[in-house]
């Protein structure tokens, strides 16, 4: 009786070794992706975290581009305004000289009238 028990006990580890080791099963990348996706979908907080990160990043990039365009708008407007101011300034300068001419003509006319009296 005791011998049978010892033999049976010896067989147990033999049985364990006799099992084939679970080698890496050759699966296709698509299958593996599916497994991964299933695992992600199975855990709702994980997928939420990923979506949130992507959205924030995109939002930041959009915001940066928008601010760059806005700043450039400011520069374009500033440049156009500068040119306008310069042109208007020159026209005012011309107008002032014109006024000076008129005053001088009036003065000359008065002097001539005074002299020819």
């Amino acid at each position: 009786m005791r011998t049978w028990i010892i033999v049976a006990l010896c067989f147990v580890p033999a049985l364990a070794f006799a099992q084939p080791a679970p080698e890496a099963t050759k699966r296709s990348p698509a299958e593996l992706r599916q497994i991964c996706a299933d695992a992600m979908n199975a855990d709702p907080t994980f997928s939420e975290a990923i979506v949130k990160t992507i959205n924030e990043d995109t939002y930041l990039q959009h915001a940066k581009a928008a601010s760059a365009v806005a700043k450039n708008e400011k520069h374009v407007i500033l440049a156009y305004a500068a040119m306008w101011l310069l042109s208007v300034g020159f026209v005012l300068f011309l107008w002032r000289r014109q006024q000076g001419l008129r005053v001088e003509i009036g003065q000359l006319r008065r002097d001539l009238e005074a002299a020819s009296k």
Partner: protein, 227 residues
Amino acid sequence: MSNKAIPVLATLSAIGLVVTLWLVFTYAPFEPVLLFNQKIFYWHVPHAFMLFLATTICGVSSLVFLKKRTPKWDDLALATAEIAVVFGAAVLITGSIWAKAAWDIWWSWEKRLTMSLLLWLALVGYVLVRRFAGASADRLAAGLAVFGTLGIPFIYTMVDKSDRHPQAGSGGNVMTLTGPMKLVFWMSVLTFFLWFLTLVMMRVQSAAGERELRELREKGLDAGVLS
């Protein structure tokens, strides 16, 4: 002639200005690298062209004045010099703003900016000499304009040709523009050329008027009519 020409030119340039503005903001496409701030180029470069044109006219007209001493050439030289100062200031200021928008620096000794600055300085000198040199101001300023214009090819040869900063506008040369950009650009050049002509004619008229007044007064003094 000039009585009709000035209002006509002014109206034409006003129309051209509206059309150009509309074209720049609706028709011209975005340039891939600089995007929106490249629009400054449609205002900045025509002013630079007019600066060079005005300087050349001033130099040639000064030379003719020195040789012939006919006053109308002096008027033309004075008018183009003052207008070159205005347009040059526009080029430098808008160039500076554009540089800040595009490359985040206010100034660089890049060849086009340097050339414009040097020409502008010579013409500011012209205006100063005209004002402060007294009786022989017209001769002196004319001499400055002649030598200054003579130096243009030398300045062009000596400026730092290495384009240290990327040049905006399709490969850096306006001659390589194509398509809608080309149309808008040359429309803009035409508009500012008309505006330039308007300003020159107005200033020449003003200078001629002042000269006539001076001569009339001197005649009156000589004749003993005036005191």
